[in-house]
Symmetry: C2
Amino acid sequence: MPDQPAHPKDQADRFARARESQSVALLEDYVEMIGDLHAELGEARVADIAERMGVAQPTATKAISRLKREDLATSRPYRGVFLTEAGTLLADRVRARHRTVVAFLVAVGVPADVAELDAEGIEHHVSRQTLKAFERYLANVDARGRRR
Amino acid sequence: MPDQPAHPKDQADRFARARESQSVALLEDYVEMIGDLHAELGEARVADIAERMGVAQPTATKAISRLKREDLATSRPYRGVFLTEAGTLLADRVRARHRTVVAFLVAVGVPADVAELDAEGIEHHVSRQTLKAFERYLANVDARGRRR
DNA sequence: GCCGGTAAATAGCCATAGCTATAAATCATA
DNA sequence: TATGATTTATAGCTATGGCTATTTACCGGC
């Protein structure tokens, strides 16, 4: 048994933290998606958001309400959804993190398609510090040409 | 732009998959916790489970109902919670995966305490294939003595 | 300018995961 | 053995995140 006397309180905090990340995850996904749609299509319509997220249209509408409540997005009915400044910042951050996580997984030997799949879930739980470690790792790998 | 024409359907599937993992995550955490408590204390009482999970006691009771429904656990009121065979297998698998994820994160330069925190969320999204990649990585690191 | 079709919003349902407050069951002990 | 303390279960609330069915609003073409 290497570790874990596991002070119950600490462990409880860990779980609480994981639950917390979880609650932010969907917001992040939607915000990133809206950013992508604007980049690709020039606008983000509710129907497109729903399709890409793989949910029914009212589900997307409801999620967008939450984004608005959190000041991440605005929308003009029948005119699409728009990110606020905060939303744009978040989207950029999330997109960058996603790319880093995928690249990192690939760099340590995960097949690209699997990396893409797993990253979708993993990324939301990657802290700033862990992300930094991934970036450092990638920088090293790049410096040495290839894996080695 | 390296990747992502992102066929909407594929992407939708990715999100669906991430949501799915999410729904299994809590079951995994509870099952592992019950296993730990049996190992440490010889029994798993609802109150202890609740404390360690950082939730109120009725929340734990409700989760345990779900475990029973899924044939992962049984319980005799006021006598504790017990894992079924399936539950025990799951617990072992989850515990092993958790250890691997933490060890891997540490090996790529994540501080131990952060690794422990992040692993709690990450582990549930690590597929069999990604786990294999982590194990391979760890085997390599071990073989070469240290990082290098 | 009306009218049909599409897009979005609304209504109303389900399950999960949390909570507090309360009831019931068990245990320990006087 | 009865009683008080502890432990578990239950009731009933909130919010999230799904869904289908329906209504409402908009837009384009005739």
